[in-house]
Amino acid sequence: MAFKKMINSKKLLAFLAVFMLSGTNLLMAQTVTTDATAKPGVNWLGVGFYILLFLVAAVVIAIIGKILKVYDLSQQIKGKKGIHWNTIMGVICLIFLVVGMYGAYWDITVQGSMTLPEAASKHGVRIDAMFLTTTIITLIVFVITQILLFTFLFRYRHSDKRRAYFLPHNNTIEKVWTIIPAIVLTVLVIFGFFTWQDVENSSDIKGQPASLNIDITGHQFAWELRYPGPDGKLGKKDFRLSAGSNKLGIDFKDINSMDDLQADTLVLPVNKTIRLNIFAQDVIHSVYMPHFRVQQNAVPGLPTFFKFTPTITTEEMRRKVDDPKFEYLLYCNKICGSGHYNMQKVVRVVTQDEYNQWVAKLKPYLTPALRTELKLASADQNKSITQNRLALNN
């Protein structure tokens, strides 16, 4: 009891208040001095201040708890009922519902407007349409079920005068609310299934103009691009050839790879079908281009593809989002190590003319330096490959 008295004593509280105030003063003083020094030490006063703040909060809660208990007991002594906690909780549920619904509304309008701009690709528009449908359906369900949940809690809060309504089951209504979600989900599934099949189809249909093939290779922690040269074809690659300047392991014995081009920015001609051939060298990465609604993992040992058609140039998008510095981005979206958070590449969508001009300036992978290096190294490389084979045979 003595301990409890101590906690409740006013003197102690006053002391705490004084301590807190002086703590604040000291904290302020401390921040000024730490700014001056080069390497700040641990600001123990600041730490102590937060701990103290927490303790004060705990003490306040303890005091409120005690007051409530005393009040409750005194009411009981008077022969009245204590605090109606059931009513209080019911009311809080109702308040939570109203405030929560407003909060959700606020969040959807304010933060919802901070989300991605309209899709900048052909299939992206379809995905967005489906997103909208799904959002509307789920929002309706969300609002109705949460309202029912919390109003029921308020409406049917405990009362000694009442008895609950004995309702163990009702087959009709159960069938109804099994079948309705089933129908809605079937619609979404069918809608989604066909969109998915179309989006994921990465092979070119015969007769249509061939899409522009671009290789993108992820490694820790950057992306490498490879554009086809004038022949429009990308040469073969072999990971065993990755050495020295030939980082990607391009097989220059393949005639198609002779004119392959290297680039720093992923520049795409607008309204032309692009087929990204996605590779990874070390660990799994993910090619993520949210503005185009494109994502595909880059898996070592398993080439993947994504075919899409950009429809809005960077310039147009800058005007649309009213931001002259806007850039489309491609970044890694699969945990890949310490630099995962900064593995990005700028994507620029331009007109066909601009693209042609840009492509003309690109340098080939087969630089003169690499040419000489390869000629010197070719004998070594062959040897190392045969050695590998031998090792495997063993």
């Binding site: 489906m130 029921f152 405990h158 309504y165 299934f193 949210p290 494109v294 990005q344």
Partner: protein
């Protein structure tokens, strides 16, 4: 009508047995084989792990909120993991990994199933203990070993495992790829093998106890929904956890013995590796074959507990008991064929993706049925707001909010843009994280008297509930929009992207909401520990509930019932039955004692009983006419 066979000799035998029973401290509290003590061991270990994982999350939340600031205190606390007072990027990933692993496996699987399956299965089906108490004890000790190994990885040079809780190879297989794939990863894998061993021993025990050791009259359709949930969860675990071990063992081979199950065509830091012919996708298949049932292993016990708690506290039978059981069974079966929805964009054949999308969206139907049935249970109830009830309701609210976003993510076409973004983080933290932890807390508040013979403080419970409930929504709701803006998860800082910097203020808000929720847990911990020793002493049936565990005495004796195990005559949800004196009728009350409240529905498959009922009601009518 049902017969009540009193077997006196059973009583005598048992009491005799008790006189020979001498518990030392070691056999009672440490190497206990009593299911109630093992449940408490699981609970306290689980809560400890939860607090650790929560503190880890606060650490990385601070990094996300203040990526540019230095906190010298962090260097004091974490040493080389936070040089200059800022978290190391690799240690950030380790924090994320260990937070996820601990929360999913150690808290929400072992802490939740381990605690409540152990506590409630024997008590609610009417058994003196588990089918194999010794294996039950082993299960706990394997679990504790797993916990210790997992935490010990914080003390190795390169730090704990860091490739995310899903440990996808090659990142987890190549020590050159990141620090967290070194010794820390080895410890993670060893810990997980111990954990799965623990889980399997527990699961086999739960299944065999439910199937074989039910008391007289407790047929499957008289079991409380908690038992149904634990039973099906255990089946899921027993069937899916071994697949994880298979995956983990192959990964150990790849890491330590030079095999190429998951590795192929790899060049790390310019060095060509000799691996050929493996597939990283294979690991993902093996992992998610457990990984997806795992999320149902986490949520189903929470569903069972919430169903029970909501029925007791709204003084109403659970609405659609059969539908609830069938939807649990449906979820169990379907959860085995949906794992591919974690892999839509990993390079898996798109056609397979389409199939997995169909199965995934089908699973929303039983989930919807459950939600509507919970709402119908509350409708026209007489709701008592105990803290357990509030947490159960909170579970339903989270399950709705988080479940609905599952319809987006389960749709392969939408998943293209949402995969691995904060939208996913928001989704599973609500539907699986918060919902399951609320189910667990509901269980703790509700069955605390059964574990410790005392009651927890209600007002502190209210405070704990509201702060945590509001806090969780404040933390996870805004994350949806970050995901819709294409902000990826597991990013150490958003500073490198101009487009993400506007989310920094939101991140700060989320971090402070998380700190508030974390502080609220102090109210729980204080309440929990204080009530164990000084709480108000509980009566035998403090919540006026029907289930069998409340027929045991308050002092928790080995063997549960001092005499004969009671027989069961009715389903567990006869609350507020019209015509009954009280608003609850325990399962042990024969129908013959409650003639005034019986309804024809009580006598399905029992023509003799039905006849007795009609006879009784006709005499009743005759009497009234005489009057």
């Amino acid at each position: 009508m049902s017969t009540l066979a009193v077997q006196d000799h059973g009583v005598a035998h048992h009491e005799e047995g008790h006189e020979h029973h001498h518990d030392t401290f070691l056999t009672k509290y440490v190497f206990s084989q009593d299911h109630k003590m093992i449940a408490k061991q699981f609970l306290i270990t689980g809560i400890t792990m939860a607090v650790i994982a929560m503190l880890l999350s606060i650490l990385f939340r601070i990094q996300l909120a203040y990526p540019d600031k230095t906190f010298p205190l962090l260097e004091t606390l974490l040493g080389r993991f936070a040089p200059e007072g800022r978290l190391d990027p690799e240690f950030y990933l380790s924090l994320v990994t260990i937070h996820g692993t601990i929360m999913v496996f150690f808290v929400l699987t072992a802490g939740l199933s381990g605690t409540f399956s152990n506590l409630l299965i024997p008590l609610q089906v009417g058994a003196r203990d588990m089918a194999s108490p010794f294996i039950n004890m082993l299960s706990y000790w394997f679990f504790l070993t797993a916990c210790v190994i997992m935490l010990s990885s914080f003390f190795v040079q390169k730090g704990p495992a860091g490739p995310g809780w899903t440990i996808y190879p090659p990142l987890s297989a190549l020590p050159q790829a990141m620090k967290g794939s070194g010794l820390g990863m080895t410890l993670w894998l060893i810990s997980m093998v111990c954990f799965v061993a623990s889980s399997l021993m527990g699961g086999i025990n739960y299944v065999s106890t439910v199937l074989n050791m039910r008391t007289n009259g407790m047929d499957l359709w008289k079991m409380p929904l908690t038992i149904w949930a634990f039973f099906l969860t255990a089946i899921l675990g027993v069937l899916s956890f071994p697949v994880l071990v298979a995956g983990v063992v192959l990964l150990i081979f790849d890491r330590s013995f030079g095999t190429s199950f998951y590795l192929s065509d790899i060049v790390v830091n310019g060095q060509v590796m000799p691996f050929e012919g493996g597939s990283p996708i294979l690991f993902q298949h093996l992992f998610w074959f457990l990984g997806h049932p795992e999320v149902y292993i986490v949520i189903m016990p929470a569903m069972g507990i919430s169903s029970e708690v909501m029925s007791v506290n709204s003084r109403k039978p659970i609405f659609g008991y059969h539908a609830m059981v069938y939807s649990l069974i449906g979820i169990t079966v379907l959860s085995f064929i949906v794992w591919g929805h974690h892999m839509f964009i990993t390079g898996m054949n798109p056609f397979l993706g389409g199939v997995f999308m169909i199965t995934t969206l089908i699973i929303a139907v039983p989930s919807a049925v459950k939600t509507f049935n919970w709402l119908a249970t509350l409708w026209r109830g007489n709701i008592r707001f105990t803290p357990a009830m509030l947490f159960a309701v909170g579970m339903v609210s989270f399950f709705i909010s988080g479940g609905l976003t599952g319809i987006f993510l389960g749709n392969a076409a939408l998943d293209i843009n949402l995969h691995d973004t904060y939208f996913v983080v928001a989704h599973f933290h609500l539907v699986m994280g918060s919902a399951a932890i609320f189910g667990m807390l509901a269980g703790v508040y509700h069955w605390f008297p059964k574990m410790f013979g005392r009651l927890m403080d209600e007002k502190l419970g209210y405070l704990h509930f509201w702060l945590t409930f509001i806090g969780a929504y404040l933390v996870f709701f805004p994350m949806h929009f970050m995901g819709l803006d294409g902000v990826p998860r597991r990013y150490y800082a958003f500073t490198e992207f101009a487009s993400m910097q506007r989310w920094l203020s939101v991140n700060m808000f989320i971090t402070w909401a998380a700190i508030m929720s974390a502080c609220a847990q102090v109210a729980f911990l204080y309440n929990f520990i204080h009530s164990i020793f000084w709480g108000k002493e509980a009566t035998q049936n403090p919540w006026q509930a029907n289930t069998l565990e409340w027929t045991t005495p308050v002092e928790r004796i080995h063997g549960n019932w001092p005499g004969e195990i009671p027989s069961v005559y009715r389903w567990p949800y006869d609350y507020s039955k019209p015509g009954a004196e009280e608003d609850f009728i325990p399962q042990t009350t024969p129908l013959s004692e409650t003639m005034s409240s019986n309804v024809p529905h009580d006598f399905e498959d029992n023509p003799a009983g039905l006849e007795a009922l009609s006879k009784w009601s006709s005499t009743q009518k005759a009497n009234e006419e005489v009057k």
